[in-house]
Subunit: 294 residues, 2 copies
């Protein structure tokens, strides 16, 4: 059954995700800060809106896909944001990767107006967004999740309801912790091999068959060996995500010594102007420590 | 073609490995420090020897599978060790996990007597040893490797010649770095989930489909959730292996900040009497930091 949908945020991820919703036959109202981002959507039959309010007026379910916590706060609770336009029974689905704590607060503010919110951050990158094969980690009320799930299935494949409001963001944060610290693990192993004068490519091959095997050893390990840091997932986004993790850990009093270490390495990469590289570039920090120019 | 083989060290790993060689039809001379360990081998037709010298006298190729660096030094270079008995053309294959630097030195000492050495540490544990499905990482001369490979294929499946003397030990060290730091990564993610009041089992499930996926998330992550730390691979062995790594890193001047952190967590587990647990118990350190009694 066709539903009136809204989509706010038409960047590298949001644009293809919105296009998939439109192509599935749903009437779609879209808003992007830069008008040019709305053009491919309008060409596909979506209605380009000059304001968030216009989207809120027409759509029953409104997806948000913006960069960072303050952006979501602005879209939902800012001046002329969703909160000043929404009516009861509407649903907001925030697919951005942001703070779990802020997510819980925004969900509560929306609930006061009778509006349900889901946090539904994704992993799988631009390719997953285009192909509709994203992993989607969802927090919020189970009944709302069930209602929205058919729409999420247009954009993704591995869709898990993790728990209450914020639980999707927590799962995404866990994902970013594991990926970052595993990149560090692989970086150190390759550095140890090279420091011993041993062919790091052969070591990676020997390790792929056993308990050291991981997606990171396979994909990021290959990038490190090829010294090809074309993203993939950029240092600046991984740094942002680990900043969310460490802020939450600070507030809740959770010790994460490994993640803290890697967050510093991402900071160093930002400082050396490497924010646009894939976060496999963490290996560069190991190489710089060893005195190699990278 | 049947070859006269020797096997020194008949512990949990060595015994089934030696049995597989014997069952493949090779005449086999064995020596274990405790006479009782030789009984199942003798029952299978191997010749139990009271000394290392007796093995050295009869066998063309001598396998060594003992616990730690000093044990291998004793077997090869100690009083009445292999060096005082071997003749040119014999081959020593050390399958223990020990120091790459000591391996290089022992290989050189053996070469002086015309004896070739391979370092061929394994991963895959007791199950792999019994089933003959070990991963074997080999260092040493390529020609020697080619000659010995059919014998290694009796004990293992994924057999990689990594490079010159010591390269097998370096690859094994890299394996232990990656596994240890990835266990830390998964421990922190599950701790972050719990600290946020989110179901850690659902988070693991959500993460298994994407870039966070690894053997460690699958196997060790499950152990953490079940709080079942039956080994698997024991804390005391992982601690020993990371000690080898950190000693080598110290000597060669290689910075491994992540591995150093996890080495400390393994030290803490040894101090609390948890050396017999699986090294997935690293998660306990995160839980203790959070004030939970474990």
């Amino acid at each position: 059954m066709a539903m009136k949908l809204g989509f706010i945020g038409l960047g590298i991820m949001g644009r293809p995700m919105a296009l998939n919703l439109r192509r599935a036959g749903h009437p779609l109202w879209v808003h992007g800060r830069r008008a040019v981002t709305m053009e491919p959507l309008a060409a596909a039959g979506a209605l380009a809106c000059g304001s968030i309010g216009a989207v809120a007026t027409h759509a029953e379910v409104i997806f948000v896909m913006v960069s960072d916590t303050p952006d979501v706060e602005r879209v939902i609770a800012g001046e002329n944001g969703l909160l000043s336009h929404l009516r009861p029974e509407q649903v907001v689905v925030d697919m951005s990767t942001i703070s779990p704590a802020v997510t819980r607060r925004l969900a509560q503010e929306l609930q006061t107006c009778g509006v349900e919110m889901l946090d539904a951050p994704v992993s799988g990158g631009e390719v997953g967004a285009i192909d509709g094969t994203l992993s989607i980690m969802v927090g919020g009320q189970k009944a709302t999740f069930q209602r929205i799930k058919p729409l999420l299935e247009i954009m993704g494949r591995n869709i898990v309801h993790v728990g209450d409001h914020g639980a999707g963001q927590v799962a995404k944060a866990c994902n970013q912790i594991v990926v970052a610290v595993t990149i560090q693990a692989v970086s150190e192993a390759l550095t140890f091999a090279r420091g011993n004068g041993v062919d790091a490519a052969k070591v990676r091959a020997a390790l792929l068959g056993g308990f050291a095997a991981s997606q990171v050893l396979k994909v990021h390990g290959k990038r490190m060996l090829d010294e090809d840091f074309t993203p993939g997932f950029k240092v600046q986004l991984h740094q942002k995500d680990l900043h969310i993790v460490m802020e939450d850990a600070h507030k809740l009093g959770i010790a994460l010594p490994g993640a803290a270490l890697v967050a510093q390495h991402l900071n160093a990469l930002m400082g050396s102007g490497d924010g646009e590289l894939d976060s496999a570039a963490i290996v560069k920090i190991m190489e710089r420590m060893a005195g190699r120019k990278t």
